[in-house]
């Protein structure tokens, strides 16, 4: 699975998140959108839900990974900041865990 496939999965998961949200809390889906952190669109609960949804989508592609390891939390640069860092983090986790 390459980066563009992973990015697609993240985008799909974000679209799923948007479907459950009201019109005024939609997350703009673009490279520059801050997802989590200062001025981010997701609070910690929403981030957890997004990660769970991404895990479910990866599981459908027969990739069983956990995106909730301690390392990501303590990493100096948050892997959950935006679409690019999130995609990179997920490919790293897949490479590591599979």
């Amino acid at each position: 699975m390459d980066s563009s496939d992973i990015e697609k999965i993240v985008v799909n998961a974000l679209q799923l998140t948007n479907q459950s949200r009201s019109d005024n809390t939609q997350i703009p889906i673009s490279e520059s959108t801050v997802l989590f952190g200062k001025d981010g669109h997701l609070d910690s609960m929403a981030l957890v839900a997004l990660l769970m949804d991404i895990e479910d989508a990866l599981a459908e592609e027969s990739i069983d990974v956990s995106l909730s390891d301690e390392k990501a939390m303590s990493s100096s640069r948050s892997p959950f900041k935006n679409l690019t860092s999130m995609t990179q983090y997920i490919s790293d986790v897949i490479a590591e865990q599979s």
């Binding site: 479907q19 459950s20 609960m45 957890v48």
Partner: protein
């Protein structure tokens, strides 16, 4: 109360129906005759008084008579109903069963096991010269505990005459609720209605056939009753009272019951295998606020948790330390809200999900999810997560053809309208099987 007292009450009831199993009714007279037979069997047997005896099988005239005869014989009884068939060996072991009564060709046969039961609590019962009863906790949140009661103390509370009722016996006699209903019924000349299984339609048909008046059950069963439409296919207009306990009632299920059956009074009961069933009063049929107690019970609330002292409390666990404090109170582990003399049960302390420091009670989330169309069953648990400490996970059984993604959107949209963000499930799974055990209690045991 001794068994002799109960037997006298049963004799007075004469030809009235005592027990209905399926369509077959057994009169008090037949039951008393069977009791006579078992008493003389035991009197002529080599069974020592104080022996630990298991009785395997579900309710039958024989099983009930044998149970009462063993109680009269001062045996220590371990009832093993088929609800826990997969745990028979485990329970037999923990309970140090010395003799087994099991059915062969519809006959109960007594077999020694060559085990000697020397547990200190058993010795205490033998010294008292009273019958004993061993029940096992459901283990919904962990390992089953063996709970030892002085059966004579349990029987005492049935000496106060109460209403004669036709009551559905929903639980077997290896459950405190089942024992309570059975003894109440026999002591008051009522009729115990035993459905052939616990499917909503079977239970409703049994109520229709025997004009059942009282249904003691669990919230999970009531939810299935509403969804199944079984009440539309049967005439259950004889039903006056539904009592529910064993797990927190989802507000949504209670509302739906009251709306669907406005003439049925809804009463919450509160009981634990360790302390017995408390008398209780719901503020009204629509209310989750309840007053518990009764003449034999004292309650106090410590750190938000309900503590109970009971005259008929168990003597102790066979396989766990005593849960009683120095004043004899047992901490139930149930978190409650208090409003004067009324309390509302929020859930078990051990089941609270701590999401980033905020408390979530599974029952509240389950209640919200049950409001969705097409949701047949749901169980909510907490799972560890490094971001929020714990997070809310929901396993849901649905009747619709939705994909997981479609259902997630519908669930989260609905929940965000009725629950704060931290209570909304992050992990959602669709499941094929029901989440409850054989007694219709939701199992939250973590895999």
């Amino acid at each position: 109360m001794s068994v002799a007292y109960l037997k006298e009450k049963m004799r007075q009831a004469g030809n009235a129906d005592a027990v209905a199993i399926g369509s077959h009714c057994i009169s008090y007279q037949e039951l008393t005759e069977k009791l006579d037979q078992w008493q003389s069997f035991l009197a002529n047997s080599t069974l020592p008084a104080g022996a630990v005896v298991s009785v395997k099988g579900d309710y039958s005239a024989d099983a009930i008579a044998l149970f009462l005869a063993l109680a009269n014989y001062n045996a220590i009884i371990i009832p093993l109903s088929n609800d826990s068939a997969t745990q028979f060996d485990e329970f037999t072991n923990i309970g140090q069963v010395e003799y087994e009564f099991a059915q062969h060709d519809n006959q109960y046969i007594l077999t020694p096991t060559q085990v000697t039961a020397d547990h200190q609590i058993y010795q205490e019962i033998r010294q008292r010269g009273t019958p004993g009863l061993v029940l096992f906790s459901s283990g919904s949140t962990g390992k089953s505990k063996a709970i030892v009661h002085d059966l004579a103390a349990l029987l005492t509370k049935f000496t106060v005459p109460r209403n004669t009722m036709r009551t559905v016996l929903f639980l077997q006699f290896d459950h405190i609720g089942g024992i309570n209903t059975l003894l109440y019924t026999l002591a008051n000349g009522g009729m115990a209605i035993i459905p052939e299984n616990r499917r909503p339609i079977t239970v409703c048909k049994a109520i229709e056939m025997h004009k059942g008046e009282v249904l003691p059950t669990s919230p999970t069963f009531l939810n299935l009753l509403l969804l199944s439409g079984a009440a539309e296919e049967s005439d259950i207009s004889s039903l006056k009272l539904v009592t529910y306990g064993t797990e927190p009632m989802p507000a949504s299920t209670l509302e739906a019951m009251s709306a669907r059956f406005p003439n049925i009074r809804m009463l919450q009961t509160y009981g634990l295998s360790e302390v017995g069933i408390l008398r209780s009063k719901s503020r009204d049929s629509n209310s989750l606020w309840v007053k518990v107690g009764g003449e034999d019970y004292q309650t106090k609330i410590v750190d938000g948790k309900l503590c109970i002292k009971s005259k008929s409390a168990m003597l102790g666990y066979l396989n766990a330390p005593s849960p009683f404090d120095s004043d004899g109170y047992m901490n139930t582990g149930d978190q409650v809200e208090q409003d004067g003399e009324w309390i509302r049960i929020l859930g078990r302390e051990s089941e609270i999900i701590n999401v980033g420091g905020e408390k979530v009670y599974p029952a509240e989330v389950e209640s919200a999810i049950l409001q969705l169309d097409g949701v047949e069953d749901v169980v909510v648990v907490g799972i560890r997560h490094p971001i929020t400490g714990m997070t809310v996970s929901a396993d849901v059984k649905i009747t619709t053809q939705e994909s997981l993604s479609e259902f997630k959107v519908r669930l989260r949209k609905h929940c965000s309208g009725v629950l704060p963000g931290f209570k909304i499930p992050t992990k959602i799974r669709l499941i094929d099987d029901y989440t409850h055990n054989a007694r219709f209690k939701r199992m939250r045991r973590k895999a």
